[in-house]
């Protein structure tokens, strides 16, 4: 779908504030960064995202669209022990 731009007003932007995406300092670039990751076969999407988080040393990393979910809830082979009274 081709989109056209409609101009409503003339306005300037003050270069003291904000930064065009291509000129962000590297820390800002990471803070507002996306990785188009080539997911390997075995780890789950969640495991891959958490791996990225550790490697880059960032606080948060989230993936969009699960590719191969691990079983939600319990892990495989896990049995809940009966609750003691």
């Amino acid at each position: 779908m081709k989109r056209e731009l409609e101009i409503l007003a003339q306005a300037e932007t003050d270069k003291r504030y904000g930064t065009p995406p291509s000129e962000r300092p590297i820390s800002e670039h990471i803070r507002l960064g996306m990785i188009n990751l080539n997911k390997p076969p075995n780890p789950s999407s969640n495991e891959v995202a958490s791996w990225v988080r550790k490697v880059l040393g960032v606080k948060h990393a989230g993936h969009g669209g699960t590719l191969e979910a691990k079983r939600p809830g319990r892990s495989n082979g896990y049995r809940r022990t009966p609750r003691s009274a």
Partner: protein, 256 residues
């Protein structure tokens, strides 16, 4: 074995995940048939799965298990080798391909299951452009840490704006930016320019004149109505991506 395009958002970019979460996906799938089937028949049945289909999420699903309607935009048979069938499928977000395979198997009468799956597109992200492995990410980080070279890291990590490729944009005045960062609605006088094809209720991206994303919003007026009207609310802010205070506060009376 599931591989391929997995967009990963870092830090504040995680706020933009909604921008492509519900966008279309494309896969190449290897399906295993449980009996011999004439390839021509396989092709016919595959074609019958285009358009609207009904799916019940699998037993092991993270969503409610009720039948959902999904659209298959396209299925192309690529190759058949005895009981293995390779096909390409373009579909709506939330389509289970593993389920699609077993449903195709049922339609063929012989049963089938998914053997391997590769995602080739997730909304704006494809296999062909800026697609990197975990090792490449790690190497880019090492070059930066040990040699101070930013180049690779800047290639591997893309600006969050790339997630908004297919979402229509509204560009606003510097003076309106901080109000949007505080969650305000976007009023028409704050708009400098906007793209065609905006529909009420649809998603729009609010941008600065420096092409930075400010927020994801829900359009209240169409492009045409915004052009015709002089005042009114053009969009309601839904998810703010930009950090508060990036632009000066020029609203709400005196500054402290």
């Amino acid at each position: 074995m599931v591989t391929g395009v997995l967009p990963v958002a870092l830090e504040d970019a995680t706020k933009a995940i909604q921008a492509f979460l519900f966008s279309g996906k494309e896969y190449v799938c290897l399906m295993q048939l449980h009996e011999d089937v004439d390839p021509e028949r396989t092709k016919t049945i595959l074609n019958e799965f285009t358009g609207e289909i009904y799916q019940r999420p699998p037993l092991r699903a993270s969503v409610k298990r009720e039948v959902r309607k999904r659209t298959i935009y396209k299925i192309d048979l690529l190759e058949v080798e005895s009981r293995r069938v390779l096909f390409r499928v373009a579909c709506q977000a939330g389509t289970y391909i593993r389920k699609l395979c077993s449903d195709i198997g049922e339609a063929l009468g012989c049963g089938a299951h998914m053997r391997e799956l590769r995602r080739t597109r997730a909304g704006p992200f494809t296999e062909d452009e800026n697609h990197y492995t975990l090792q490449e990410v790690q190497e880019a980080k090492r070059l930066y840490d040990e040699e101070g070279r930013e180049g690779n890291l800047r290639e591997v990590i893309r600006p969050v704006e790339e997630a908004f490729k297919y979402i229509p944009k509204i560009y606003i005045r510097d003076s309106a930016v901080d109000a949007i960062c505080h969650g305000a609605e976007l009023a028409i006088p704050g708009i400098v320019k906007l793209e065609t094809g905006i529909k009420p209720g649809g998603a729009v991206a609010i941008y600065t004149l420096k092409d930075e994303v400010v927020a994801l919003a829900e359009a209240q007026l169409s492009t045409e109505n915004v052009i015709d009207a002089e005042r009114g609310i053009a969009a309601k802010t839904r998810r703010v991506v930009m950090k508060l205070g990036t632009y000066p506060r020029e609203w709400g009376g005196r500054q402290r």
